[in-house]
């Protein structure tokens, strides 16, 4: 493709109106050509102005929660993590029709959660530790915990403490709940079925919930926001922890 042809296709190119082969040819040409191609460069960015002509529409309140939960469980491409999904495995963004409790148990999502927790934990532990010192129950739980799981997500971060029989979720300053809502806690086993194990109504200060059953064989711990205690999650998780490994 020569310079003249590319300039003729400039408007179609910047609007995404050329076919795949032409787009590759034009992109490759522009990256290497020493001509200014003002015709193309002058039109670059025009598409976003056309998009600005669409009337803004306020998204539903659930969309932000769903997005943040997905992001919390989705690795960034430039941050290789413990385990990469096979190239042909659907990514979280293509899995919107699959319930989150089935998606979140995938190795990739779990690895992402663990990584996100590892990044944020250092600073978090300091302030949490200060507050927890005032809570005897939390202290006992921490002292007796055999295993500590990191819990992270769009609502904040916390710990799931497990002494082999009793499990306690503890967190500091979780995100404010919408009026009339509560946090509901879930354990999810390898069968992918979430089991409700408690609720927390007050997001202020330190949140501490003793789970209604031990972790057992569960592979994932998650928290959703619900308007009342429900038997199955109605929305995406705002906090997640892998219980494997």
């Amino acid at each position: 493709m020569n310079c003249t042809t590319i300039d003729e296709l400039a408007a179609a190119y910047v609007l995404g109106g050329v076919d795949a082969d032409e787009e590759r040819s034009i992109s490759a040409h522009l990256e290497t050509c020493d001509q200014p191609h003002a015709e193309v460069r002058d039109l670059i960015g025009a598409g976003s102005v056309l998009a600005a002509g669409a009337e803004p529409v306020r998204p539903s309140s659930q969309l932000r929660e769903r997005l943040m939960a997905t992001v919390a469980a989705t690795p960034q491409d430039h941050r290789p993590i413990l385990e990469q999904a096979p190239a042909n495995e659907p990514t979280a963004e293509t899995q919107t029709s699959i319930p989150w409790w089935r998606r979140v148990a995938s190795p990739m999502a779990v690895a992402a959660v663990a990584l996100a927790a590892a990044i944020g934990l250092g600073v978090w532990n300091v302030s949490l530790g200060q507050q927890i010192a005032e809570r005897d129950e939390a202290l006992r739980a921490i002292a007796g915990a055999d295993v500590v799981h990191q819990v992270v997500g769009s609502a904040g971060s916390g710990l799931l403490l497990d002494d082999g029989g009793t499990a306690i979720f503890v967190a500091e300053e979780l995100a404010d709940l919408p009026s009339g809502s509560l946090y509901e806690l879930w354990l999810i086993g390898s069968d992918g079925v979430p089991v409700a194990v408690g609720t927390a109504a007050d997001a202020g200060g330190v949140t501490l919930v003793t789970l209604e059953q031990g972790i057992g064989d569960a592979t994932t711990f998650a928290i959703t926001v619900e308007t009342e205690r429900v038997a199955a999650p109605t929305g995406d998780p705002v906090l997640v922890a892998s219980l494997e490994g």
Partner: protein, 203 residues
């Protein structure tokens, strides 16, 4: 770099560092515009929200490819939204997956001071007014390509004109839109370079 682009560039840096709260801020800035665009293409509220969700996840995943010196984060986001919306109504283009399309679209998102100035200044109503002022055949060509996902060759077939006429209509349409949205604060310019200098001199 404009104030808006400066804010976006800092957001991009934080997103690149793995900060989910920065992606939340990006969402708060542009979700309504993104949903408006997606809804205009797919015409279904639930599907449009899925498009917006997937577009922001794509930006999260691929932020390392974005270079704020070479483009506008808003423009890239809107192109990703448009790619996904078109994908829903038209099916994937042969030989061009969405991931590939997202990365290639980075080349089509700037920087371009003329369009950025128009973006910061023009309301949706002004853009609509500028579109309405186009001759019917030019407006139709833009609509078919940008909001319905047809290529210029398909537009030529649909409208019964040679491909060169279809590309010419698109070129004329964008030229007129640029002029309409550049007035009065931004000087018209055939290259964009003098426009940019004019903007800088006014600061």
């Amino acid at each position: 770099m404009s104030d808006e682009r400066g804010v976006d560039a800092r957001l991009a840096d934080r997103i690149r560092a793995g900060r989910t709260d920065a992606l939340g801020e990006l969402y708060d800035r542009y979700a309504s515009v993104a949903l408006g665009t997606a809804l205009r293409v797919v015409k279904d509220r639930e599907e449009a929200e899925d498009v917006v969700h997937d577009a922001f996840v794509a930006v999260w995943r691929k932020i390392d490819r974005f270079d704020s010196e070479r483009g506008s984060l808003r423009s890239w986001l809107m192109t990703v939204v448009r790619n996904r919306a078109i994908d829903r109504i038209r099916g994937r283009r042969p030989l061009m997956g969405l991931d590939d399309a997202d990365e290639r679209s980075l080349l089509r998102t700037g920087p371009n001071p003329t369009w950025e100035a128009a973006l910061e200044r023009a309301s949706a109503a002004q853009v609509q007014s500028a579109m309405a002022s186009l001759p019917d055949e030019q407006r139709q060509a833009v609509e078919l390509v940008y909001f319905q996902g047809y290529t210029y060759r398909e537009v030529a077939e649909l409208t019964g004109v040679p491909p060169g006429t279809a590309t010419g209509r698109l070129r004329l349409a964008l030229s007129k839109l640029r002029s309409a949205l550049s007035e009065p604060a931004v000087e018209r310019s055939p290259t964009g370079v003098t426009t940019f200098l004019g903007e800088e001199l006014r600061r």
